[in-house]
Amino acid sequence: MRKLTVMDTSALILKIKRYNPEKDPPRWTETFNVETKKGMNLLEALLRIQDEQDPTLSFRYSCRGAVCGSCAMKVNGKLVLACRTPVEGLLGETTLIEPLPFFPVIRDLIVDMSLFFEHYRGIEPYLHGKPIPSDCEYMMMESERKEIDPYIQCILCGICFGVCPAFGRDAQFLGPAILAKAYRFLRDPRDRREKEILNGVNDHRGVWGCNTVFQCVKACPKEVPPTHAIVKMRGRILRYRFTSLFSRFLSMSRRIGSR
């Protein structure tokens, strides 16, 4: 392999946070120099290290095209998909690579996402369809589809959880991606639920736990806007409260009036 010097601006120097509970100490950082080629991305660089330097380095990957959601990690303090990160911008200086924050680390850059998927299952994330004959599709307008479309893009990579102060504070907070998912079903004209969905998110674990700091919107690699979904669901809940207060008031005043 090519010898690298500190001055070499085409050198990729990766300082990786490692973890292996069977080792002593279990946590350490390790620096690797990687030879780069034009158009290379960070995932390719990590695979190269695994092949040529250290087969024990562990991380998840599958599609290498930013669609499967496997390879989220922290790079120089920013949460990214490794496969969507060109190494070009990282050359010359040392790049720090860490696992996705707030999730328990299993090994090196692999984190335990079970809580994420527990929250996912918690909102019953499947269409509860209105009745329809089995041989024809629901009619839906393009405008209605486009309304939901941004929320469908989510690849469940977990990045938004890793930047979310609310989730960092309280692991019971449902989290941006999951609330975006709830909104996706709420807005789907084919889904018969409305109150159920809103009830499910109407507490501090749900929409009221969010700090509306838009960190998730900024970090999401697929341009999903979870905070927008959260704000819209808050609006609906408030409207419900208002109308139910109002109707209670009405019926009360009617009763008073009829006395």
């Binding site: 034009k38 158009g39 991305n41 695979l47 695994q50 092949d51 040529e52 087969p55 024990t56 380095l57 562990s58 998840r60 990957y61 599958s62 599609c63 290498r64 095209g65 930013a66 669609v67 499967c68 959601g69 496997s70 969507r84 060109p86 299993i106 090994r107 692999i110 996402m113 996912y120 299952r121 019953e124 994330p125 499947y126 269409l127 369809g129 329809i132 089995s134 041989d135 024809c136 599709e137 629901y138 009619m139 839906m140 307008m141 393009e142 589809r145 939901i148 479309d149 469908i152 893009q153 690849i155 469940l156 079903f185 789907d188 084919r190 889904d191």
Partner: protein, 567 residues
């Protein structure tokens, strides 16, 4: 020895595996899915363009029907598809796609609110249903949502090591959780392989990195033949560099293919359909342009979308735009996309009937790892997603109905023996720390396959490839591993995958060498014509100690006698 037991075990969490699981669970069986990645990370999530179904939602002068769809599929297959299977797919596909819509797939819509359809290569009608250009992301997430709703258990990040066979019956698998230090025997009355394609034995491939063809090898290893493996589809438009797919939908929407001289070269190769010619023809034309010096930098051509305008690109091809920007730094609204052909799809696989049954009782297969055969020598775009749903469901249903008929006690010894064999293999490998590392062999294999068993094939190349694969197999026997533990052992996984890759490559090469004709995706420069008299038949490859032994079987022809395939 501790066993896990299920009526039906499905290996693979892509579209085919999930659809099979849903069907089997709804039939009241105890079902589990096992996958080496979380199901949502399966390769299926990447398919972009769409799924074919003859809904006839788009007004054109004549009506579309499942019979038309069958005809296009059979013609596209260069008449190698089994016509009864194609008819099943095209007929039942309509139900399967509507069901996906009912489960929540967010298909793009026509003006009157129905599922939108676009033209795709090799079809006479706008028949491809789509959800912008992220169709399968949508489909896979929806199927997974159903799986969650039905509470079907998933062994996530488990690797299937081998099938366990006893008295001529598949009785389960030996598997291991990637993060644990143990192998686990799983007993199942029925095992369904839904392990996807083997694209990554090629250097340039549009497939996910995990698509190594291991599932095909699992079957091949226990004596099940592999069918029509020499038919490997090359896609004309993969992004130069990473080979990420640029969907055919981009041409369906009106994109042009242009060479360095500024010519729309498809005029010379398929004057009627132009860019919408079938994949094999467009891929060969594109490779030829590059080989004959009409490419850019000798390596790629341009896919030009600029004339479609910002609005159409943003509405119909937002994913493609994102890919071009993220992975090539190019905005297709402003600049043409550099593209080159790459391996894309595996037409061949584990032979099954229309109910997913393989020649081995107790073993089923569906999806890209199977060969029903509905794609024959060349798959039409939009047909493989359909295949995963139709035959996934059928395999699940058949497995469920077979299971209730008989319950047998399986033999724990068969599991025990295999488990011990794995332990000692790993032990031996790790005692050879100085042996050659896996990745070097893997990279040599990939380069070899792209260079010598690729789009254009000829005898001398194929012979040398065969020789080289034999040499690689020998060197494989001398591989050494640094780690001897089971958990997190990336080298060990690589080793297991590479073993399958070498065998699959050998089968492809042997099939390609022996088939002295050109049909669909299999193009021999030394035998450029189709030869129905000798070669209108399926290849079956059996594993022997000397390599692959080939046999042949008849193609099923129902209503569409073979004709010349012109576009």
């Amino acid at each position: 020895m501790e066993f896990l037991t299920h009526d039906i075990l499905i290996i693979g969490g892509g579209l085919a595996g999930l659809r099979a699981a849903i069907e089997a669970q709804k039939a009241g069986r105890d079902v589990a899915i096992l996958s080496k990645v979380h199901p949502l990370r399966s390769h299926s999530v990447a398919a972009q363009g769409g799924i074919n179904s003859a809904f006839d939602n788009i007004p054109v002068p004549t009506n579309d029907s499942w019979e038309n769809h069958s005809f296009d599929t059979i013609k596209g297959s260069d008449y190698l598809a089994d016509q009864d299977a194609v008819e099943v797919m095209c007929r039942e596909g309509i139900e399967r796609v509507i069901e996906m819509e009912h489960w929540g797939t967010l298909f793009s819509r026509t003006e009157d609110g129905r599922i939108a359809q676009r033209p795709f290569g090799g079809s006479g009608f706008p028949r491809t249903c789509y959800a912008a250009d992220r169709t399968s992301h949508n489909l896979l997430h929806v199927l997974y949502e159903q799986v969650v709703g039905l509470r079907i258990p998933v062994y996530e990040e488990w690797h299937a090591l081998s099938l366990v066979v006893d008295e001529g019956q598949c009785i389960g698998v030996l598997a291991f959780p990637l993060f644990e230090e143990r192998t686990v025997p799983i007993r199942a009355e029925a095992t369904i392989l839904a392990t996807g394609g083997y694209g990554r034995i090629y250097l340039r491939s549009t497939n996910a990195i995990i698509n190594t063809g291991k599932g095909c090898y699992l079957a091949y290893q226990v004596g099940v033949p592999l069918e029509d493996m020499e038919f490997v589809q090359f896609h004309p438009t993969s992004l130069f560099g990473t080979n990420i797919l640029i969907t055919e939908g981009a041409r369906g929407e009106g994109g042009y293919l242009v060479n360095v001289k500024g010519e729309r070269y498809m005029e010379r190769h398929a004057p009627h359909l132009m860019e919408l010619g079938p994949r094999d023809i467009v891929a060969r034309a594109t490779q030829r342009e590059i080989d004959e010096g009409r490419g850019f930098e000798g390596q790629y051509v341009h896919l030009d979308l600029r004339h479609l305008g910002r609005g159409k690109i943003m509405d119909h091809l937002p994913g493609i735009r994102q890919i071009a920007m993220d992975f090539a730094g190019i905005d297709p609204i402003l600049n043409p996309i550099p593209i080159q052909p790459a391996q894309h799809y595996s037409m061949g696989g584990i032979p099954t009937n229309v109910d997913g049954e393989t020649p081995l009782p107790g073993l089923y297969a569906a999806g890209e790892c199977a060969c029903v055969s509905v794609h024959g020598a060349n798959r039409l775009g939009g047909n493989s997603l359909l295949e995963t749903l139709v035959f996934g469901a059928r395999a699940g249903r058949k497995a469920a109905s077979n299971v209730k008929r008989k319950k047998r006690e399986s033999n724990p010894l068969a599991f025990q023996k295999q488990s011990e064999a794995f332990q000692s293999c790993l032990h031996e490998l790790s005692s050879r720390q100085e042996g050659e590392p896996c990745f070097r062999l893997r990279d040599e294999l990939k380069t070899l396959m792209t260079d010598q068993v690729g789009i254009f094939r000829r005898e001398s190349d194929l012979l040398s490839a065969k020789e080289k694969i034999r040499e690689l197999k020998e060197r494989f026997g001398r591989i050494g591993l640094k780690q001897k533990n089971l958990d997190f052992n990336n080298e060990w996984i690589q080793y297991l995958e590479l073993e399958g890759m070498l065998h699959v490559a050998e089968v492809i090469t042997e099939g390609a060498l022996t088939r002295k004709e050109s049909r669909g995706s299999h193009f021999r420069t030394d035998y450029p014509d189709r030869d129905d008299e000798h070669w209108l038949r399926h290849t079956l490859a059996y594993k022997t100690t000397e390599g692959a032994r080939l046999e042949y079987k008849e193609v099923t022809i129902t209503n569409y006698p073979p004709k010349e395939r012109t576009y």
